[in-house]
């Protein structure tokens, strides 16, 4: 199999020697060939690190492609390694040693400064029937009146919408110099009608519209340096705390939308459920996050906490024994916010893009001629 000229990567000599040595070790019978099914072990040995599932799959795929009668030669091995090493910075034992301090670690700080200057974006959507505490929860999460209801004029709040509407409101919040542009998208009217058939369609359309906008911005000839990201990074789906099971509407919604957006289901108004009921419900449906929200603060043991006061006690929102609000908040904001953004970009958006472009392929025209986008490259222009 001849390597394409464009993709040839040159390795330093010590690396080639290490590869050759490991290959010969693996070639126990001295035939000059290694069986393709053992190749993953050889790769692992030479790198000295564990490969991820996807990395392993790629290696195996390449090996099967190159192998003749299930056997791989040294050159084949080099090709596989070349491809693998180009795709990652995890070179394990093959790293080149440096003798002293160079200063690469300052890259971290350089990026940090740039990103801080630009600020972060996070777009969250809340979906669920009226009255499940969506607005209150969002306000509690970000400790500000960021929900749509808190920001709308009072006349708009009153009646139940007749169809599902999708409305967004943006805020910029700042903490210790870090600025976040938070966009909260609400879906008033979802699931409130007698006939809720297809009430998820406006939501689906909105999500795809954001992907579409991003895609056309990305593809435009003079595009912005930083494309504004309005894609939904996280969709909080509110489930009623019946203690029984999900409702048919819940299933329909999640089934149709889990392929295009990150869905985080939460059990709303969890102070309806006792601890055992909550555990039962979660075991049956395997859901995390039974939450309670509140805007009001009460003094407890000298501290002021967010909570709900009832005739038989005070439900503390941030008390882990009372509900899982803290866990949700930690996941959403403190540990996985960036991950949610990443997954939206690299998985959901890519899926969308792939489908869109694949369906457009046959129809692209330049100067009256129909061109196949795939086979186009610089040399043929």
């Amino acid at each position: 199999m001849e390597a394409e000229v464009n993709n040839r990567v040159f390795f330093p000599t010590h690396l080639e020697e290490a590869l050759r040595e490991t290959f010969l070790e693996a070639d126990t019978q001295g035939r000059g060939y290694v069986e393709s099914k053992n190749i993953v072990n050889v790769v692992r040995k030479v790198l000295g690190i564990f490969l991820t599932h996807t990395e392993k799959a790629k290696v195996i795929a390449k090996a099967e492609y190159l192998a003749t009668k299930g056997l791989l030669s040294v050159e084949d091995f080099f090709t596989i390694m070349a491809d693998t090493l180009v795709e990652t910075t995890h070179w394990g034992n093959l790293k080149t040693e440096i003798a002293g301090y160079v200063g690469i670690d300052t890259l971290q700080e350089q990026i940090r400064k740039k990103v801080l200057k630009r600020g972060f974006e996070f777009n969250i959507m809340v979906v669920g029937r009226s009255g499940l505490g969506k607005s209150t929860l969002i306000n509690t999460l970000f400790k500000a009146n960021v929900s749509l209801r808190s920001c709308s004029k009072s006349e708009e709040k009153v009646e139940i919408a007749k169809t599902t509407h999708v409305k967004s409101v943006s805020h910029v919040i700042e903490e210790k110099g870090v600025r976040l542009r938070l966009t909260v998208t609400d879906t008033p009217g979802f699931g409130d009608q007698i006939n809720n058939d297809k009430c998820w369609l406006p939501v689906l359309d909105y999500i795809n519209e954001q992907y579409e906008n991003y895609l056309s911005e990305e593809q435009s000839v003079s595009r912005k340096k930083h494309i504004p990201d309005t894609r939904i990074h996280c969709c909080l789906y509110f489930i009623a705390p019946t203690g029984h099971s999900l409702s048919p509407l819940d299933i329909e919604f999640m089934r149709r939308l889990d392929r295009c957006v990150n869905i985080v289901p939460v059990i709303a108004k969890a102070d309806t459920l006792t601890v055992e009921e909550r555990t039962d419900f979660k075991q049956r449906e395997m859901l995390p996050f039974a939450v309670v929200g509140s805007n009001q603060q009460y003094p407890v043991n000298g501290r002021t906490v967010y909570g709900r006061r009832t005739q038989w006690g005070l439900v503390e929102v941030e008390n882990k024994g009372h509900c899982e609000f803290s866990d949700l908040r930690d996941m959403l904001i403190r540990t996985h916010m960036q991950d949610l953004v990443e997954v939206t970009r690299s998985v959901h958006y890519e899926n969308f893009r792939h489908e869109r472009l694949a369906s457009r392929r046959g129809r692209t025209q330049i100067n009256g001629q129909v061109i196949d986008m795939d086979s186009m490259n610089e040399s043929s222009l």
């Binding site: 019946t242 601890v275 009832t310 005739q311 503390e316 009372h322």
Partner: protein, 372 residues
């Protein structure tokens, strides 16, 4: 024993009482509401029973294609020698599906069917053992996590308020604190009024009732719709064993009037207004049904008879039905007339016998004129 100057019918209430206690009482109650609102737990709590033992809650796949069904459960309970046959009509599947447009229809046709059955039985020949399956009360469960009534709630109540006593309750009231409950109740009452829904109204007290009763009645009226909690678990609070729910932040007692209106609901349903619910069902809802039904069939009948022959085939069924009823009535009238005639004959014969023993002809003449 009646004293001098008295006739003695002051014992009538006791006589009725003894007979009814012997016969026993019956009550049919329907519960309507989405799955998971605590209907079964509430019923079990109200009647201290275990009607829903070994219940299997369907998972969501089973729910996906479910329609509304009607399930009846009957039990007999006894307290201080008084027996009550209680029937609970459950409506699983209500409000579950994605499209709930016709949920109320299934329930309406059930109610109408019971009225129809009773009507037929009442018009029948042997009326000794009529079984009364008419629904005396419909508890409608409103979810506490909403902003008042939803379109589904309003539609249901509007279609059924003229066929059954609708008693709305706010379910799982331990989700809400006192302020929120008051706000929700006010909102519900407002929305009921705006939509002209006539839920069951407690009748006014008679002025001769004692103060305590009037006070209780007033409190009941103020609390509608009742915000309820149910539990079949017994927990310990301050050394007492009560029914309740344990939360990490406190214990909710079902029978504590500060915690919910459960006691009020039970008082209303069982101690004070059970008979009134039955009376209103009989005197208002059933009578409405009966009047409408009779009007409908007589209209149909007259329309059918007025039609010319070249019209399409008349609806045989309704003509038959009317004719059947008329026949039945005519037969009864004929029978009664026969009986009357027989009685007259007997009287005449008796009169003649006595006249043979020497009575004046004037009497005979008078009697003869009467016979005419």
């Amino acid at each position: 024993m009646p004293s001098v100057g008295e006739i003695g019918f002051a014992t009538l209430p006791e006589q009725i009482h003894r007979k009814s206690v012997k016969k026993g009482f019956d009550f049919t109650m329907m519960v309507v509401g989405e799955s998971g609102l605590g209907k079964s737990t509430l019923i079990n709590s109200l009647f201290l029973a275990d009607l829903y033992k070994d219940r299997k809650i369907p998972n969501v796949e089973e729910k996906l294609d479910r329609t509304v069904t009607i399930e009846k459960k009957t039990m007999e309970i006894e307290e201080k020698g008084v027996k009550l046959k209680l029937t609970i009509v459950d409506t699983p599947g209500f409000g579950e599906a994605v499209n709930c447009e016709n949920n109320w229809k299934v329930i309406e046709s059930y109610l109408t069917e019971q009225f129809n059955q009773f009507f037929k039985d009442e018009s029948g020949l042997n009326r000794k053992n009529i079984v009364d399956n008419r629904v005396h009360c419909c508890l409608y469960f409103i979810p506490p996590w909403g902003h008042g009534l939803r379109p589904l709630d309003i539609e249901f109540m509007k279609h059924l308020h003229q066929k059954v006593n609708v008693v709305p309750v706010i379910a799982k009231a331990d989700t809400l604190n006192a302020n929120e409950i008051r706000r929700l109740k006010d909102k519900v009452l407002r929305e009921l009024k705006e939509n002209e829904v006539h839920v069951y109204q407690l009748p006014d007290c008679d002025s001769d009732e004692d103060e305590e009763f009037k006070q209780q009645d007033h409190e009941l009226k103020q609390s509608i719709p009742f915000a309820v909690i149910g539990s079949t678990q017994v927990v310990e609070v301050n050394g007492r064993r009560v029914r309740g729910r344990i939360y990490p932040w406190g214990i909710v007692e079902v029978e504590n009037p500060i915690h919910s209106d459960f006691l009020k609901l039970r008082t209303f349903l069982v101690s004070t207004h059970m008979q009134d619910l039955k009376d209103v069902t009989r005197d208002v809802h059933y009578e409405n049904y009966r009047a409408q039904y009779l009007t409908k069939i007589s209209q149909q009948a007259s329309r059918e008879r007025g039609k010319l022959k070249r019209d399409s085939k008349p609806c045989e069924e309704s003509v038959e039905e009317t004719d059947l009823l008329l026949q039945q009535k005519e037969e009864e009238i004929r029978r009664m007339q026969d009986m009357l005639n027989q009685m007259h004959q007997k009287l005449k014969a008796a009169g003649r016998d006595s006249s043979e023993n020497g009575t004046d002809s004037d009497n005979r003449k008078d009697r003869e004129s009467v016979d005419l």
